[in-house]
Subunit: 157 residues, 2 copies
DNA sequence: TACTATTATATTGTATGCAATCCTTTTTAA
DNA sequence: TTAAAAAGGATTGCATACAATATAATAGTA
């Protein structure tokens, strides 16, 4: 015979999937915020925000890029990057100028001041790794899983 | 004899720690944003943003909380929560009123409309898990590592 | 070659996030 | 029992994020 009357437990179970502790997204969201927050004191010393910091990071590797390329690297769009790049320019770390071959492209190039900042930033990663005391193995594991997830998202596009 | 003159390779190596691909934080930051972005279509149907959604989530579990408690659960402060809670109130999902025992506390309580929303939200987690196709085992692993990291941060406080 | 589609960036509007500060109420302590 | 400290929220200021739209330049095409 079928059970028709649901107990309180049955009703609760239906909603288990909506419990905060059963979400994968939430610890991801919370961790990301916490890590960025922990960067702040070190980045304050460089007069950079976290987003500005990772933008400088891609420019330290490749001295000239257009906005689109930077956006692809950082998963950011022009709505975020345009004002941010103007700010970095006002700080003297980058230059913005239109490409002569294709006027649509805004070329972002790093200045000597921007290059110099790289040396001041050298201690940031080591300071941060002191905050993320997860151990080498787990850190690597986490890193791998996150990039797998990112690739899944890329594939779905 | 000591090597004094540094090769280009040596110089590069010093800066390896500043490469975007060598950061743990970056995939964390990017994943979190991507996941939240994938929630959008499902949450749009409920007229909720992601932050509003997780706020409703804690209120679905515990019908009455003050702002401080909600903030502790979500890693958010009053600067974020105050306007967000006013918006949820204007949508009719919650009520805001001061505690009579301690006027400092603002009690947030869920309304019948807020409760009803829970049923409409039931399909969101399953739809989202279709997007996060990482496999059960890796998902669990990722979940575990993220909470470990969150606890590290909590300890450091 | 005009006309259309596409591409790259900029702008606008809405919603966070968080540090710093302020205001009120409550608690603590001298 | 008051003055000082602490606690809970609200406000302000700054910096993202991102969707949607606008604009200008280039590419593609009938």
């Amino acid at each position: 015979m079928e059970k028709v009357v649901k107990t309180a437990g049955d009703l609760e179970a239906r909603y288990d999937c909506l419990r905060l502790e059963n979400q994968l997204c939430f610890p991801l969201y919370a961790c990301a915020k916490e890590v960025v927050r922990h960067y702040k004191p070190f980045l304050d010393a460089l007069d950079l925000t976290y987003t500005q910091y990772i933008t400088m990071m891609v420019l330290w590797e490749k001295k000239e890029m257009n906005v689109k390329e930077i956006g692809k690297n950082l998963f950011l769009d022009s709505g975020t990057l345009t004002p941010l790049l103007k700010k970095l320019e006002s700080k003297g770390y980058i230059k913005r100028h239109r490409s002569k071959e294709d006027e649509r492209n805004l070329i972002i190039s790093i200045t000597p001041e921007g290059e110099a900042l790289k040396d001041e930033a050298l201690n940031v990663p080591s300071e941060m790794s002191k905050c993320i005391c997860l151990g080498r193995e787990k850190t690597d594991q986490l890193y791998g899983l996150l990039y797998e997830l990112l690739e899944e998202f890329d594939k779905a596009k």
